[in-house]
């Protein structure tokens, strides 16, 4: 092979050397600027450059770009190189374009034309370059332009192998962007290219099979039935590889392992299907899997790590397939034993991967017991592994292998580990421990101990859901209430205890403090003083909770009423600057003074049991680690463990403190003010109760308020008989935060509740939306909220989509909605005087910058309402500037990440004609157009 060094472009090598010799950043920039000036003059000069020179300069520009400098010329020259007949020139042209040209460039038409020429060229090298370029930068436009050329190249008998490989992956790229490029539904025709595509699995050339199997897997994921013919083809291909000796597949044998990468791809492809129905195919597949497992036991053919890695890559993929099929107990147990050997292997990689795979095995009923045999080893890994990611996998596996028989031990080990665990994984550990303790508790005093230990050791990482949950369980289980009261009382004795402990302690003593009040060591006044000693160190939310505890004490222990009233009366409470504390203190004080014992006893009665539902903690864990969380299995699962309640009435999904108030009806529904003038008294901590569906009446047509919300930030986005979706949003400059409130209006739980928010297509480059997940179940009458962070990168037209899917009464429901995010949300109202306004107006006089629209009034021509809409739209109303007082002029700045765009507007009503003329000028033409479109319908 000729040396790759030394040939090529001398000028380029000299330039690169120069750059490398620069002693400082400044020197480098100077050298680059000199070169840029040189290249620019060459490109501009009269003398026509020959191909070599053009190639050299384009390559230099590329190098400069890769160093991190902006390049704003040379694109045309690069495109010119595409039409060269010389490979080296063409290659540099394509490379420059792949690295530097974005797909909405003006040059894209020219590029597409050049690619088209190369695709139909006779020289396969040119065809290949063109295909690789599409595979690198393929866009929707390209998918449309080449929708016939590429499939043709892929299945044509005349195409050479190298080109076929590129064509397969090129098609894959375009398919990902534009699935219609491979139409589905024509599979009945055996000549159709779809069927020919799967037959590429039979191709003589292993490279073609390797490339094609990635394409086929993508197709299979879209329509498994259509391509199910690939199963038997993949099995027979796999079988030929696995049973071959390493000398058979010379070119494709890697360190004595025959075609490891292709084997992995085929095994992955098969994981898209259940085990084959055809007994012959199934038998053959099982033989392959057995052979792979057998080979793992054979002595290695090489000591090189490459050999064992390649062999094990195939082995792990085979095990994944075995677990996926979950139908061959014999294979599952063998897989488990194999992984068990890896658990103590000297290679960290293998230990890590074995823990990871075993996690999946633990979820199969056939292998769960086999996995449990390795418990010791896994616990040991937790204690000794140096790499935190390995310890993390050990935690995952312990969680997955946990069942009733080993729960106490595993939970204890996880608690031990928690004390020294890395901060990065503590929160997840806490969730896992909390879930296991709840799930496998046979004795609820053990459960209470575990949770209190969690709070003690990792209080900061105990999320609200965890302590809500322990309270729900204690409230629902009479047998544990006395123990819980005693234990929290003891825990609170610690001089420094975590605020979450105070919350749990406050709540539990408020409910069940009477159960331990008989013991003089925990007499009412002792309980009260203990809690109150923590009061001043706590946050407002916790203090509010404690005030509720105190009023509960007034009912439970009338003998300490005096001391409690004193606390309510303290200035720091009754005159607290915090509205919540002040209100609670004064209301509770009055209640304690005027209410009779009967009234007190009724109002402050023990909380009713909480509705039984899936642990919200589990839902959180699932969201934290989508795709990585496995739920532990439990053959003797007993679902009635957490609740003594069988109530099916509507439940308010409020957090416990809200219930504790005994005044849920006062809690403010965030949406309430839109429907009733009810005052916002008694604001709860979280504002998450649902109140006012009754006002809305039932059985009405769905409401979709998308367009109204363009000039309002809060309101109902959508409503039908089942679901109400409310929006609250705040925007600042180019950033926004939106909260969606999903209220279940029905009498059934909504399960599998999954709202998906996305900025699709082109919008994705203009707007980012980040969504916090929500719980997957909304019980009847409850409401959940979801926060969305939005950033405007560039001005945009489309709305982000909101797709809500859920099961209602076992029927799948799907709502396709849009989020009310429009460019004006990123407006900043800008005040200015008449002079400034007119000078800016004039500056924006270009024909592109102005959009005018004349339209009929759709609403009564009310000047006040119009003013309100314009300012709701985010613009500053500029009064007294327009000589005609009936006209409106407004100004605003649109903030995007990269740019600020000034926008001016003039709205002229013509009352006689019932028409408006709206003129918008903006420093960017798309913005003025979009504003006109958005606004016109509202007047």
């Amino acid at each position: 092979m000729p040396a790759a060094r030394g040939d090529g472009m001398r000028g380029l090598a000299v330039f690169i050397s120069d750059i490398r010799n620069c002693k400082s950043k400044e020197a480098e920039i100077k050298r680059i600027n000199k070169e840029l000036a040189n290249i620019r003059s060459k490109f501009k000069g009269d003398k026509t450059l020959d191909g070599y020179q053009k190639k050299k300069y384009v390559c230099k520009l590329l190098f400069i770009f890769l160093l991190g400098h902006d390049i704003d010329f040379g694109h045309m020259e690069a495109v010119n190189l595409l039409s060269s007949n010389k490979y080296t020139e063409k290659q540099i042209g394509y490379l420059f374009i792949s690295v530097l040209v974005n797909t909405n460039s003006d040059l894209i038409r020219l590029i597409i034309q050049s690619i088209k020429n190369d695709l139909t060229a006779r020289n396969p090298v040119h065809v290949n370059l063109a295909l690789q370029c599409i595979a690198n930068i393929g866009s929707r436009e390209m998918a449309e332009a080449f929708s016939t050329d590429i499939p043709r190249l892929l299945v044509s008998g005349e195409t050479i192998d190298v080109v076929k490989q590129s064509a397969a992956l090129c098609l894959l790229r375009l398919f990902r962007i534009h699935p219609d490029i491979i139409p589905s539904g024509e599979w009945t025709n055996p000549d159709h290219s779809n069927s020919r595509i799967i037959h590429l699995l039979n191709d003589q050339h292993m490279g073609v099979v390797t490339a094609a199997s990635s394409l086929i897997e993508a197709l299979v994921k879209r329509s498994p039935d259509e391509y199910k013919g690939c199963v038997s083809l993949a099995v027979s291909r796999l079988s030929r590889i696995v049973t071959s000796s390493y000398t058979d597949l010379q070119d494709y044998t890697y360190y004595f392992v025959p075609a490891p990468w292709l084997s992995v791809k085929l095994l992955r492809l098969l994981q898209n299907y259940p085990p084959p129905d055809d007994p012959g195919v199934r038998g053959r597949l099982n033989e392959c899997l057995e052979t792979i497992l057998n080979k793992a036991q054979e002595p290695p053919k090489s000591k090189k790590v490459q050999h064992s890695n390649a062999k094990n890559a195939v082995l792990f993929e085979a095990i994944s397939l075995i677990i996926h099929s979950d139908s061959e107990p014999n294979l599952l147990v063998r897989a488990c034993n194999q992984l068990g050997q890896f658990l103590t292997h000297r290679e960290t990689n293998l230990r890590y991967l074995a823990l990871e795979s075993m996690c999946l095995l633990a979820t199969s009923e056939f292998s769960h017991e086999a996995v449990k045999k390795h418990q010791e080893t896994v616990i040991n890994a937790l204690k000794t592994e140096r790499d935190v990611s390995v310890r993390q996998r050990a935690v995952d596996l312990l969680y997955a292998m946990c069942d009733r028989s080993n729960a106490e031990e595993i939970v204890q080990e996880m608690l031990n580990y928690l004390e020294t665990a890395d901060y990065s994984i503590r929160e997840e550990m806490v969730l896992k421990v909390a879930i296991l303790a709840e799930k496998y508790a046979t004795d609820y005093s053990w459960y209470v101990d575990v949770i209190l230990n969690l709070i003690r050791m990792a209080g900061d990482h105990v999320s609200e859901e965890v302590w809500y949950r322990v309270i729900q369980i204690v409230v629902n289980r009479e047998d544990v209430q006395g123990y819980a009261a005693k234990t929290v009382f003891e825990a609170l004795q610690a001089p420094a205890c975590h605020e979450n402990m105070v919350k749990v302690g406050g709540y539990i003593l408020g409910e069940f403090g009477n159960l331990i009040a008989g013991d003089p060591r925990s007499a009412p006044i002792v309980q009260f003083n203990l809690l109150h000693s923590k009061y001043h160190l706590c946050s407002v939310a916790t203090r509010a909770l404690l005030l509720s505890t105190y009023i509960k004490f007034v009912n439970l222990f009338p003998e300490i009423k005096g001391q409690i009233q004193e606390v309510f009366k303290q200035d720091s409470n009754i005159r607290s600057s915090d509205a919540e504390l002040q209100q609670r203190a004064s209301e509770y004080l009055k209640l304690s003074i005027v209410a009779s014992t009967d009234v007190l006893a009724t109002v402050l009665e023990e909380m009713p049991p909480f509705p039984e539902r899936e642990s919200s903690i589990l839902a959180i864990l699932k969201k934290k680690k989508p795709g990585r969380t496995v739920e532990p299995i439990d053959p003797n699962k007993d679902t009635s463990q957490a609740s003594t309640s069988s109530t099916t009435e509507r439940h308010h999904h409020a957090e416990p403190t809200a219930h504790q108030n005994g005044q849920t009806d006062l809690l403010v529904d965030v949406l309430g003010d839109m429907y009733s003038s009810q005052s916002q008294s008694g604001a709860g901590l979280m504002n998450n109760a649902v109140g006012h569906q009754n006002n809305l009446g039932g059985g009405t047509a769905p409401v979709d308020n998308l367009s109204k919300l363009s000039w309002k930030n809060n309101g109902i986005l959508y409503e039908n008989d089942i679901l109400q979706i409310g929006v609250k949003a705040e925007y600042r400059l180019n950033l926004g935060r939106m909260t969606l409130f999903y209220g279940n209006k029905s009498d059934f739980s909504l399960n599998g509740f999954n709202p998906t928010v996305a900025a699709l297509g082109d919008l994705a480059t203009r707007l980012t939306v980040q969504v916090k997940p929500v719980e997957s179940t909304i019980v009847a009458g409850a409401q959940v909220q979801q926060t969305i962070n939005i950033e405007c990168l560039e001005d945009f037209k489309e709305y982000p989509s909101l797709v809500v899917t859920f099961l209602y009464n076992n029927t799948q429901q799907k709502l396709n909605l849009k989020l009310p995010v429009t460019i004006n949300k990123f407006f900043e109202a800008t005040d200015m005087n008449g002079e400034t306004f007119f000078s800016r107006w004039k500056n924006l006089g270009g024909p592109q910058q102005e959009t005018q629209s004349i339209f009929k009034a759709a609403h009564p021509m009310d000047s006040n309402a119009n003013g309100a809409k314009l300012s709701g739209f985010g613009m500053q109303l500029l009064k007294g500037i327009d000589p005609n007082p009936d006209n409106f002029v407004c100004a605003a700045i649109l903030h995007t990440r990269n740019q600020q765009i000034g926008c001016l507007l003039r709205l002229e009503p013509n009352r006689q004609a019932g028409m408006y003329r709206m003129t918008v000028r903006a420093s960017k033409d798309t913005v003025s157009k979009q504003m006109c479109d958005l606004l016109a319908e509202h007047f």
């Binding site: 790759a4 060094r5 290659q91 894959l172 390797t210 292709l262 993929e317 960290t348 990689n349």
Partner: protein
């Protein structure tokens, strides 16, 4: 699927960046820095895999160079670990004992090697013989 391939030296200088997703330039820079920060703190006793955002990085160090492939969480780690090695062996053969400077001076050829072995975020060709034969043929062209 491969999301990107990075070759960086210990100082964090990028010797190759190949992107299979559309990131903007600022995001690319951020990814480059994050990968460097994540990978360089690990030692030989650690695994060759790191969780990274919603993906994972499979990487291997050769002298002063880190070869990193960012793939989906469900992807086969060892498969990509050996894909790196296979790639390195091809580079080594192609450049006759490859060193960092070869990648600097011949950056435009490295892209060709990558495109022969990986395309559209997938493994395209794994046979070293076939890849080298193709590269040899291309090298002989004007």
């Amino acid at each position: 699927m491969i999301r990107f391939i990075l070759i960086q030296n210990r100082a964090g200088k990028t010797r190759l960046a190949k992107w299979y997703m559309n990131f903007d330039d600022a995001e690319k820079q951020k990814l480059i820095e994050e990968v460097h920060a994540v990978v360089t703190v690990r030692d030989a006793k650690h695994t060759n895999f790191v969780e990274f955002r919603n993906y994972k990085i499979v990487y291997r160090r050769y002298a002063g160079l880190y070869f990193c492939i960012c793939v989906d969480v469900q992807d086969n780690n060892l498969n990509y670990l050996e894909a790196i090695h296979n790639f390195v062996e091809v580079l080594n053969e192609y450049f006759h004992n490859v060193c960092e400077l070869d990648l600097v001076f011949n950056f435009y050829k490295v892209y060709t090697v990558v495109d022969e072995m990986f395309l559209a975020g997938e493994i395209r060709e794994t046979s070293q013989t076939k890849v080298l034969k193709q590269l040899l043929m291309l090298n002989s062209l004007e």
